[in-house]
């Protein structure tokens, strides 16, 4: 059984077709990188898989069933908002809030849950964040905290929305390496959205490239090519291979780099700016 099936799915946000008649299937244990310009629907796709947005056309199936909110088989790491409230709550309690957080009553925690939180934090190298208040953490530290949270509860599908944003290069490697190893070990399917392909090369089973409502899913060799990306970006794209790296260029500019810098500049204040494609 496939983990994710999209059958001519159309998903609208604010009256605009973010994804139009997308069909694709992702199998168990696949590590899939989700790439594409800003507003191409990376976050929207994940929200649809979580059952937060209903497709306006076609069908979506996750583990063979229509998406539903609160599916415990899915671990989700939302994109980090920079405008996080100035919370003095310590890291441990932030994560603890998500453990059965949808149940009513007092937020109590079983001893086993406590241990799970501590060991998961330690596994992503964030053990020291348990006692630190959220307000004192850097963007990268918050990322690691949220990543640990997504792994709790033995999910079979991980949706990681830009887990590398605001991490420095060495931490990016740690995160990719860890998620990859974790998913391999347990046969977990991973959708990993990112701005740059290069860090993910060598880890990806397949890449899902989104752009202008369309999608291309396949191996890096199949998808990251000039004809496929030109169609998705709606402009002429060159794909340059150099020294084991792949550069996606438009009129001599590195498209991914430009998008990345743009996001950093705006400090993610508009989370996804529909229709904006920076080239």
């Amino acid at each position: 059984m496939n983990v994710i099936d999209l059958d001519r799915a159309t998903i609208q946000v604010g009256g605009r077709n973010v994804l139009s008649e997308i069909s694709l299937s992702i199998g168990a244990g696949e590590f899939v990188g989700v790439l594409g310009p800003n507003g191409s629907g990376k976050t929207t796709l994940m929200r649809a898989l979580l059952g937060l947005i209903q497709p306006t056309g076609g069908g979506i199936r996750v583990f063979g069933r229509p998406p539903r909110r609160g599916n415990p088989e899915i671990g989700y790491m939302p994109q980090v908002r920079t405008v996080l409230p100035d919370l003095r709550v310590r890291g441990f309690d932030v994560i603890a809030s998500s453990v059965n957080g949808e149940r009513w009553g007092l937020p109590t925690l079983a001893a086993a849950d406590r241990r799970t939180i501590q060991t998961t934090l330690a596994a992503v190298g964030a053990g020291d964040l348990a006692e630190r208040p959220l307000a004192e953490m850097s963007g990268g530290e918050r990322q690691r905290l949220l990543l640990a949270q997504a792994l709790i509860g033995a999910p079979r599908l991980l949706l990681l929305d830009e887990p590398l944003i605001s991490l420095d290069a060495s931490h990016q490697e740690v995160v990719i390496d860890f998620v990859h190893g974790f998913s391999r070990e347990r046969g977990i399917t991973v959708l990993f959205s990112a701005h740059e392909l290069n860090q993910l090369l060598g880890f990806l089973d397949r890449v899902l490239y989104l752009g202008r409502g369309r999608a291309a899913l396949g191996t890096v060799e199949e998808v990251v090519t000039a004809p496929v990306l030109s169609r998705l970006y709606g402009t002429e794209i060159d794909v340059v291979h150099a020294d084991g790296h792949i550069f996606v260029m438009s009129h001599g500019h590195n498209v991914e780099r430009a998008v990345h810098l743009h996001e950093e500049d705006h400090a993610h204040s508009h989370q996804h700016d529909p229709g904006h494609v920076s080239i």
Partner: protein, 275 residues
């Protein structure tokens, strides 16, 4: 000072209200909705004076208006609740109506000061019974929604994905804030609800990052400020609400200074908390 019944009543009423205010206020501060709480209290002023105009006890007007406004804000959602300008306009409008009601019921004007700044020394047995009932309802409801409330406050996107009904939780919480504001206004007045609902929780959150410790500390600080405030007023003859306001501010600014020495003590033993 305990030989007077009005003093015993004052301590009882202030104690009940302080615990409720400290606990509800803890989440108000965590959610960054303190201004919404402030607006609710001003809307309550219009309700209290309106109640006087039609000849019923101010607390019922307070309750009715704040509850209606709290539920309304919750249903309109984040768009209104966290928007300062919209809240500011509604707040001013409510005060305007309060003034209008006072204008048509002039003999009520003497009570206006009590509504604005509180009059805990005039609390009677009946009011204590009402406050106790409200406190039980408020705390029971808070306990019922606390788990999803914490989740939705800290991580709304994830909470939504996990199936927490965000709109319902937010609306229910603002209704509880309305109840707490109505109670708090009986002690320190609508203008000074921040002294018990924002000062103690904010100080507690500066002092600890732990959820349960913070909640208990917030209620404890509010209780201490309310009781010490009343005692201070008894011996100095200053207004009670002023004394509580001073203590609340002292605790808050003290808590801002505190992390500096706390941070030093942590640095001395880094190995312990990295393990």
């Amino acid at each position: 000072m305990f030989q007077y019944e009005f003093m015993i009543n004052a301590f009882a009423a202030a104690g009940i209200v302080a615990v409720v205010s400290g606990m509800v206020g803890f989440f108000l501060v965590m959610r960054g909705q303190t201004f919404a709480g402030h607006a609710l209290s001003h809307i309550g002023f219009a309700g209290a004076t309106g109640a006087g105009l039609i000849g019923i006890a101010p607390i019922w007007g307070l309750l009715g208006f704040t509850l209606g406004a709290g539920v309304g804000m919750g249903m309109l959602g984040e768009r209104i609740t966290n928007r300062d300008v919209a809240i500011g306009v509604v707040l001013a409008l409510a005060l305007g109506f309060g003034l209008l009601f006072l204008h048509y019921y002039t003999s009520f004007a003497t009570q206006a000061t009590a509504i604005l700044f509180g009059n805990v020394l005039a609390v009677d047995r009946f009011t204590i019974a009402v406050l106790s009932g409200l406190a039980v309802v408020t705390l029971a409801a808070l306990a019922a929604i606390m788990r999803p409330l914490v989740f939705a406050s800290l991580q709304p996107e994830l909470a939504e994905a996990k199936g927490v009904p965000l709109r319902f939780v937010s609306t229910a919480f603002l209704a509880l804030v309305a109840l707490a504001v109505s109670e708090c206004a009986q002690i320190v007045g609508v203008l000074l609800v921040f002294t018990l609902m924002v000062g103690p929780p904010a100080a507690a959150q500066n002092l600890t990052g732990r959820l349960w410790t913070g909640l208990a500390l917030s209620a404890g600080l509010a209780l201490a400020e309310a009781w010490v405030g009343i005692a201070l007023a008894y011996y100095t003859d200053w207004p009670v609400s002023f004394c509580i306001a001073i203590l609340s501010a002292l605790a808050y600014f003290g808590s801002i200074a505190a992390p500096q020495w706390r941070g030093r003590s942590k640095l001395e033993s880094p190995a312990e908390w990295q393990a």
